[in-house]
């Protein structure tokens, strides 16, 4: 069955989401991945937004985390304080899977969403952390969406906005952060994970038709590709649900 790259990304990410996850979502494809998981295999998982909306009935795709569409038929409508406290909280936070994106990523999964160039006279200014750094700081597991490009998978971030594993296996502990950190990076080519011991990124799986060499060609640093396996394409059922239930207006797909 035919599918687009965006559909492959959304389904690949959705497969990471489990029935007992509380999923912290941003806009765009991350929201779509969470909606897909909920409709496909994880009916009890909960989607929640930093704006304070928990478990909305998402009948239409929200175009921002403050979209009124996240406020309808929720478990509760709070505010930012409640949302972030839920993640910093030891009990509820332990269940949260954060989904993040960024302009740059390094081999330890640290993210830059602030500037390209010098912070004090930037070449390019981005939106800034928003809740990204908060989520990356608090939750035990996160999933990162990236476009696989050399200028995005960099040796040295221009600005470290959101903490991944920082400088390696002991980085988060030394900095005073809770244990955990990013568990995978879902790109337009592949899925990367982090080695249990070194906390360095490695290639875990390639999309159908993508070779490990192609992945490496799109990165400014080298990663271990020895563990790479081919990833399954979206099934007909997955695609049907994604297209018909999650984004029938095709606002994101």
């Amino acid at each position: 069955m035919e599918y687009t790259l965006k559909e492959m990304m959304a389904i690949t990410a959705a497969r990471e989401i489990k029935n007992d996850d509380i999923v912290f979502c941003g806009t765009g494809i991350s929201m779509l991945a969470a909606m897909a998981a909920k409709n496909i295999h994880a009916p009890e998982c909960v989607i929640f937004f930093e704006t304070g909306a928990i478990d909305a009935k998402l009948e239409e795709i929200p175009l921002a985390v403050a979209d009124s569409r996240v406020m309808y038929h929720t478990a509760a409508n709070g505010g930012l304080l409640e949302a972030f406290a839920t993640m910093q909280n030891r009990v509820t936070g332990a269940q949260v899977l954060g989904i993040l994106g960024a302009a740059q990523i390094d081999k330890f999964g640290n993210l830059n969403s602030t500037v390209i160039g010098d912070y004090f006279s930037p070449e390019t200014r981005f939106s800034g952390s928003g809740g990204g750094c908060d989520v990356a700081s608090f939750v035990p597991r996160s999933m990162i969406f990236m476009q696989h490009e050399k200028r995005k998978f960099v040796k040295q971030l221009d600005y470290l906005t959101s903490p991944g594993h920082l400088d390696g296996p002991d980085g988060r502990r030394k900095a005073g952060l809770p244990a955990g950190g990013p568990q995978c990076v879902v790109t337009n080519l592949a899925v990367m994970r982090f080695d249990d011991h070194t906390k360095e990124m490695y290639l875990d799986g390639c999309y159908p038709g993508i070779e490990p060499r192609t992945v490496l060609d799109h990165m400014a640093f080298v990663v271990d590709v020895s563990r790479a396996r081919p990833l399954a394409p979206p099934s007909a059922r997955e695609l049907k649900i994604l297209r018909e239930k999650c984004d029938p207006q095709r606002l994101i797909l």
């Binding site: 009124s68 505010g79 608090f138």
Partner: protein
């Protein structure tokens, strides 16, 4: 003191000119494309108020318009974006890249905690967010600027060892300094003459932003009867003791959304983003905006058909099947 008086209704022109002065420290409510106090933002632009020190978390559209109109000298911010319409706010981005405004970066939770600290009357609050990052390492406002200005805390953030060793499974925390704006402006669904406020849907950080401020202007979709909000007062988030001015402004959040009243206007936001990319077109946008006498005139220009299109569905609270491409 005037905060206990029974009638605080003012018109928007008078409220803005009474409380929002050149150089004042201002915060505005809402989040990206929802419930920004846009009528007040446009009035600030019409009055050409300058050199504002702005405190926001993720207030996309309002921030971008204030910056675009040249009202802002400094901003403390977590996120400058308007969802799908501008992943990074366009005039914000230009202003930072050109060094036209000074910027200090925090996270959304940190900004919210900073407002909460102001509301609670404490100098700081703790969090674990941003440990090990450049949010802590890099200061947009230098030590020199901070020391020279009594309106700024001496430190951007302070990292501290947990004084209760091991407690809460935490070795270190980040302390974020309180914000007490001179003025906070929020847009709410209903308010009464004395200033009791009721919002529907998410409240974002509006409550904390309001309670942290020295002065609070509330614009509202609807002025409630004197007794009305006293029934089911559990639903009132801000009691009148925190409010200075109540300004009824229907569509006061337009072109951003107001849950259960109206949706954001995708046409306006797309046109805005288009204009913002081009200095000449943006100048024309601003000239048209400044030529409007008030928010009603701006709405008249938009026309009843567009407003009808964004009317909220009574069940879901948004405009079902609105064309948002």
């Amino acid at each position: 003191m005037t905060r206990l008086k029974k009638d605080k209704v003012m018109n928007l022109k008078a409220a803005v000119s009474a409380f929002v002065r050149d150089g004042c420290h201002l915060s505005i409510g809402g989040f990206t494309l929802n419930r920004n106090p846009m009528a007040a933002v446009y009035e600030i632009i019409r009055q050409n108020i300058k050199k504002l020190h702005l405190y926001v978390h993720s207030n996309g559209q309002g921030v971008d318009e204030l910056i675009g109109a040249g009202c802002v000298a400094r901003i403390e911010v977590a996120y400058g974006g308007t969802g799908k319409f501008a992943a990074t706010c366009i005039r914000f981005r230009k202003a930072v890249e050109q060094g036209a405004i000074q910027i200090e970066d925090y996270t959304n939770y940190q900004m919210t905690l900073r407002f909460l600290a102001g509301a609670m009357g404490v100098p700081f609050l703790p969090t674990r967010s941003s440990l090990g990052t450049d949010i802590i390492a890099k200061w947009g406002f230098s030590r020199e600027i901070r020391r020279a200005e009594p309106g700024l805390p001496d430190h951007k953030l302070v990292v501290m060892d947990n004084p209760f060793p091991g407690w809460g499974d935490t070795d270190q925390v980040v302390l974020v300094p309180a914000i007490c704006p001179d003025v906070t402006i929020i847009h709410v669904h209903e308010a009464d003459r004395r200033g009791n406020c009721r919002m529907q849907g998410l409240t974002f950080a509006d409550v904390e932003q309001a309670k942290a401020a020295r002065h609070v202007i509330v614009t509202c979709e609807r002025l409630a009867g004197d007794d009305e909000l006293r029934h089911h007062s559990d639903q009132n988030q801000i009691p009148f003791i925190h409010v200075d001015a109540v300004v009824p402004v229907p569509y006061g959040a337009y072109p951003t959304a107001c849950y259960r009243y109206y949706d954001y206007d995708p046409v306006y936001l797309k046109d805005y983003a288009g204009a913002a990319k081009n200095d000449e077109r943006y100048a024309a946008y601003l000239a048209r905006l400044r030529a409007t006498a008030d928010h009603q005139a701006l709405l008249d220009g938009v026309g009843p058909a567009r407003l009808a299109m964004i009317q909220a569905d009574p069940t879901t609270g948004y405009a079902v099947d609105l064309d948002r491409r």
